[in-house]
Amino acid sequence: MHIPDGFIDGKTAATTALLSAAGVGLALRQVRRQLPPRRVPLLGLAAAFLFAAQMVNFPVAGGTSGHLVGGVLVAALLGPSAAIVVLTTVLIVQCFLFADGGVLALGANIFNMAIIGAAGGYAIYRLLCHWLPGTRGRVAAVAFAGWCSTVLASISCAGQLAWSGTVAWPVAFTAMTTVHMAIGVGEGLISALVFLAIQRARPDLTSETNGTHSPQPWGELVRYGLLAALGVALFVAPFACSWPDGLEAAATKLGFEHKAAVRIVPAPAPGYQIPGVRWATGATALAGVGGAVVVFGLALLLARSLVREDANEAHVAKP
């Protein structure tokens, strides 16, 4: 999802750069205030870990493979502010060292993956942890938040591409969301498995008292939430607001685009195009909500199946 240069125009680049600078500035101030000096090298090592972990390929069907992106995983391990710093570092190094993601698009990439992906995903994770207690709840929360953060980041990315006039909003939204709803399942699953592996090996590293979390994260989350809301209001809302008015006007044009998008991106499930909803964006949004419910159920099932094994193993392993 790294946007290269040339895909977003000057106004989008400038706006996202400002939003990201504000977010990263807040995160740095927060980290400087709460992180003990002992933990400072951990940020750099966590960034290097994320980069190395992204090179471990998980086999998916038919010879293809997927890998971890890791925003929510790092946020669950280190807290939202540290995660924003870590992901910003990864994006800067990928941009300047490997030309992965553009220089002018750096602000947009940081906004999508660090602020929306990691901090937004962390907010979902913490909310779920409130409702679902215990290790099982946390594993389910990581899995669901991993899926949500992938999808939310892709919607924000589609909004930026549309705001720049590179790709029309219905096409960008349909294609990006559909692809990332599938990718997100893998991301949630890998994040949950890795989180559980760390939890089994070193429970102290996953606990919220390991020195990198602030005891009351809601204050910082509200600030990142305001930034994210501002960005969403700029990139996504203009298109969302014009939905009812532009319906007839766009129908003729969309008749083709809708088909084009479907041809390139095969639907993950046969019932994906909900009958009666002719508009691709509406169908995608509805399917996204349905997908969220299904993924939430799957996350609960996953946690149930994994953590029961965990309890048995712990029982056997401990003398």
Binding site: P4, D5, G6, F7, D9, G10, V24, G25, L28, V31, P37, R38, R39, V40, P41, L43, G44, L45, A46, A47, A48, A52, A53, M55, V56, P59, L68, L77, V85, T89, V90, V93, F96, L97, F98, A99, G102, V103, L104, L161, T166, V167, V171, A175, L189, L193, V194, F195, L196, A197, I198, A201, R202, L205, K253, E257, A260, A261, R263, I264
Partner: protein, 204 residues
């Protein structure tokens, strides 16, 4: 193995482009990228001019042509896919060409700058433009331990592959996740040791 993934071209340090100061290269690269992004689609002169400058710079850098092509091909799936989506829109037909030209020029600029400038120089420039110190420390540490951890992951993956014979996907995902989890545990233990050695050398 690592070279295939993140191949950087070392050697040829004695060419003209590598000897230029990092500030100049980064500044010129930024001008090139900003100009290319802001240039109106009809401004063919700018794109041809930028292309000529890049070809000249590539010749001066003495980087092998196949290396540049390989890097471009490795980085262009996103470019190709968006160009494809765009090409199928009747209203915007034609505009995808400008998107593709723009992103190839920008990619080539970053590839040339990053392969002729040591990363520590780029960090020094970032420090000079007042990027916060904590971020610089984190970037420097990440760059230092990036290759260490990539190799560590590769060793763990090889050790895992030589010990397990499971063909089932489910158990492979489990073991791979354990490898990644263990990598984080080792990274955080390494961070503790790094802090101790930083203190021993008088950091703070």
């Amino acid at each position: 193995m690592i070279d295939n993934w993140i191949g950087h071209h070392h050697g040829h340090r004695d060419n003209l482009l590598s000897r230029l100061p990092a500030e100049l290269k980064l500044g010129a690269g930024l001008v090139m990228i900003v100009g290319t992004v802001l240039a109106p689609p009809g401004d063919v002169g700018w794109f041809i001019g930028a292309g000529l400058v890049l070809v000249a710079a590539a010749a001066l850098s003495r980087l092998p042509v196949w290396f540049l092509f390989k890097r471009l091909a490795w980085l262009s799936p996103f470019v190709l896919s968006v160009a494809l989506v765009n090409a199928l829109q009747p209203a915007a037909r034609g505009s995808w060409r400008i998107v593709a030209v723009r992103s190839v020029i920008c990619l080539l600029t970053i590839i040339l700058v990053s392969n002729t400038t040591p990363f520590s120089r780029i960090l020094r420039v970032l420090r000079r433009v007042h990027v916060p110190g904590l971020l610089i420390t984190t970037i420097a540490l990440m760059h230092r331990y990036l290759f260490v951890l990539v190799e560590e992951a590769e060793r763990m993956r090889r050790a895992r592959a030589s010990r397990t014979f499971a063909r089932r996907r489910r158990s492979r995902w489990h073991t791979l996740a354990t490898v990644v989890g263990q990598l984080f545990v080792r990274a955080s233990e390494r961070a503790e040791r790094i802090y101790d050695s930083m203190c021993a050398r008088g950091w703070k």
